[in-house]
Symmetry: C3
Subunit: 391 residues, 3 copies
């Protein structure tokens, strides 16, 4: 497998910039740190596939807090933590808990990782995760906790670093390395879903990340389906710096034309999410129902934003890599009309599963890199001990 | 303890028919595979009782999906998996999820075992479990997962192989070996419960299993309390082949007469379950309530189908082994009138606990036998290492 | 760190009075057993802080049963059990389950620890925990289980031994040893909370415990805010025996005057809890709502029972140690008016987190001391092996 030549590429001990860090947004990380996570994820997968256990913890707790159900990410977090030897405690903590210090403090007494998924509230969600993260750092400084857990954003209003680094690594494994992504065309496009209220974390996170690696990025969305304001600027700036391009269009066809990679994904417009956040703060549940109803009615005019076999034909040699942070809304399988047809979905399901299958390894990589002062030595020890995962 | 002379009796490496297999129904398994599971369960229990840890996994995940609460089986699955070193993730996945490939795929990314309990829908429940199982196999073939989890049916509309193999092993331990069950009379009889909506898995599974070992099996039930059509034929065929007998009666007394083993258990008639499945598919909840009400009213005429001390007196020397997949509905303890009196229950509670206490070991045995290419060698290693479970 | 010179102070093998025991109430334990738990908790914390793993289980299950959510104690139980190598299974079992033998039996099949939190019903809650505990002992005697789990009360109507021993150890670490608590003044005082229905476990448990160590204990509460009748006598008897004092007052100021330690905490009066238990038994939910409404209305006259900076000024040098089994009801943070002001809370949050941070270690200590025939040898082995918790 590509991109996991870990012992050569990992930073030396004195340069491990991730030691003691948290993972809230990829744009707070350096390119080389992102590559370290991707490479380490790849290496961890290779080890496990060969039945070698990369367990670095003899005991330890990982705490997850999901504000709403996300079975896939919950499994990913649990699996990734288990791989390193951590036991998962699920707290299902909701935003709105007024006493973050206590929550964070108690959750981190003995935790080596804190995974938080909280995406429903514009600005508030990421501020909540940031405050937990700050509070954990204070708890360490003041001696409340001897070892700081690594705080991982499992999906906020802004970003989903686990998903996007998993995607980066998956693309790297398909195209022969991160360096080979340079010049590849990737289409990130809005797609229709009858629900319509998905968060912006993945599209925003993807645009913010892939533009850093010299890709030709096209964002396609119907008029009004805006992301958070800062995203476009960040994507442009990244592209300019990395030697890639960033373009926007309101045509899925245009985006798909000759694309190497396509990422159809539904999201709710920023203006809707902003308004819903306000209504929620004011406890106006009835108006939220109304607002969501209006959104769904409005979305119906974009019902043709669906990936069909014809649409896939337009891509590079008709064989673009299709990516999605499943579960997807699939026409005739999970709904009457969705993000893609059943044919397209069925033709790509194995790849989609392999893509999201990277998530546990990205999570494990994040924890390993933040907990090990010398990750290179840790990998060396794991390889040399070569403990069988099962016999 | 009987029946756990594991090193002599386990199949050689080249004959381990269970490697890579799943456990959906006992009638898809050979006699010798069933005996291997029972023997291995016994051996695992003996090891643990001597404080020897049979942990074969250094890390790993077991995923459970229960469509409704079943505290006993949940604990059994968790305990059995933990014994081998697996961490349990509970998904509480409901039937009706339209996208089984995704569910199965994500659940099995890193899982070594998938336990599924889904019994409410005639035909649909077992089809659901089968589709998960097929999907997991496809995921392995296509390289989505490097190691296939063992899929275990923890209770379907058809069978409950964990419970019935646990029962087989428990009977074997009480009568000096599976071979000694030959010629023993076992009465599987319907018993009254105020709820009345229990699934058919256990009575059907028991009849299908014990008839294979030369027992004299009597099924007693009031008129109309039918099982699924195929069960009677299977029981007859099995009995004919194994040198046992299979008879039906509508008298609990007749069934209990001179019985070595009695299994009083409530179940809902097949016709009711079939109708409820239809109403559920049509989303007719009100009619389901009505249907259940009618069932309970109808059941009241069978309120005397209760195991009393007098009834127990009729059994072989008045001392038949009483079995039940507890929790039981006990008169004066959990209800006004139930499957057995408090006296009978209290006189047998230790044995009932020992019986269901075999379940974790059966689950562990299933996983060990499907994950180890050479289970004999695995047991040898466990015995020789003799790692203390705790010090 | 003080008080954890474990190898010198732990009882010799032949005197380990805790082997095979349960932890329901501190007043059933000897002083030396309580000190053993406190010291062992301290030692376990010291080991973990030095990255040494005190894992004594290779595999094993700990079952928790919480009748209502208590995130802090759930995390403490999970963390403490994990430290020793046990996996946590959460049963969320409610009081009212009629068949305690089955529950206890199934929960203890393979469990090494059972943690139960059930505090809502006067007398019934502790009787429930006692019956589980008795039932587990019977299961062992009759051979149903080979190894008895340690039953731990995580909060009942009477006591909360984990919290109070954690508090004892925390005070010991702050004042240089348990022996230095002699003569220190501790004020346990009722404090206002808008909810008002908290259980009596912590104030009762604290009074019953700290009076055994020669402290000068003052209990302050508004008229009518009574504890269970037996508590006052026990506190008086303990104080007389230990050379301390026990006094009661209806003035928070008086209690705080020159105090070394203050413990502001809300509780519901015994008479209210007794009445609510009766109404609950009679299924009179509407009257419970009414009763709780009356309690809250009545409590409003005591809204000034709030710890302010002025109140803290009255304590010894204005610097008393403030303790609370967080989460606390804090004015302007979690409510309009609560047990203490935000200033007081913020000035003490680190200490509060350290205090409750002792709970996981107390739980681990309890399990280790009851499972190890020779805890001294166990600690020696842990120290000598010095397995790194993570690398």
């Amino acid at each position: 497998m590509n991109n996991c030549d870990i012992l050569d590429k990992l930073p030396e001990k004195e340069k491990n910039g991730l030691f003691g860090k948290n993972f809230l947004r990829t744009w707070d990380m350096s390119d080389s740190d992102i590559e370290s996570v991707a490479r380490s994820a790849c290496a961890l997968k290779a080890l496990r596939d060969e039945n070698i256990s990369p367990k670095i913890f003899d005991s330890g707790i990982a705490v997850s807090m999901f504000s709403k159900k996300d079975a896939g990410m919950e499994l990913a977090f649990a699996s990734g933590c288990d791989l390193l030897g951590l036991t998962i405690i699920d707290m299902n903590k909701k935003l709105g808990n007024s006493n973050i210090n206590e929550t964070a403090g108690m959750a981190s007494y003995m935790a080596d990782a804190l995974g938080i998924c909280e995406s429903d509230f514009i600005e508030k969600s990421s501020r909540y995760i940031k405050r937990i993260s700050d509070s954990v750092e204070e708890a360490q400084k003041s001696g409340v906790i001897a070892q700081k857990p690594c705080v991982i954003n499992l999906g906020s209003d802004e970003d989903s670093p686990v998903q996007t680094i998993a995607d980066l690594q998956y693309m790297a494994s398909r195209f022969g390395g991160i360096e080979n992504l340079k010049g590849k065309k990737i289409a990130v496009t809005w797609a229709y879903s009858p629900d319509g209220t998905r968060s912006l974390a993945v599209p925003q996170g993807l645009l913010s990340l892939v533009t850093r690696f010299g890709m030709n990025v096209v964002l396609a969305a119907p008029e009004g389906m805006d992301l958070m304001p800062g995203v476009y600027e960040r994507a442009e700036k990244n592209s300019a710096e990395s030697g890639g391009t960033f373009a926007r269009t309101d045509s899925m066809e245009e985006a798909f034309a000759d694309a190497d990679i396509v990422v159809p994904i539904n999201w709710a417009p920023f203006s809707f999410l902003e308004k819903r956040t306000e209504l929620s703060a004011a406890n106006l549940g009835t108006y939220i129902d109304l607002l969501e109803h209006e959104l769904r009615e409005n979305n119906k005019q974009f019902i043709d934003w669906e990936v069909t076999e014809e649409m896939m034909e337009k891509t590079k040699d008709g064989k673009a890599l299709l990516m999605h942070d499943i579960p997807a809304d699939v026409t005739d399988i999970s709904c009457i009309r969705g993000e893609m047809t059943a044919q397209v979905y069925n033709a790509n399901i194995e790849s989609l599963l392999k893509e999201t299958g990277m998530r546990p390894y990205v999570i494990a990589a994040m924890i390993l890199l933040t907990k090990s002062e010398d990750p290179k030595a840790a990998f060396k020890t794991i390889s040399e001990k070569a403990t069988r995962r099962y016999f």
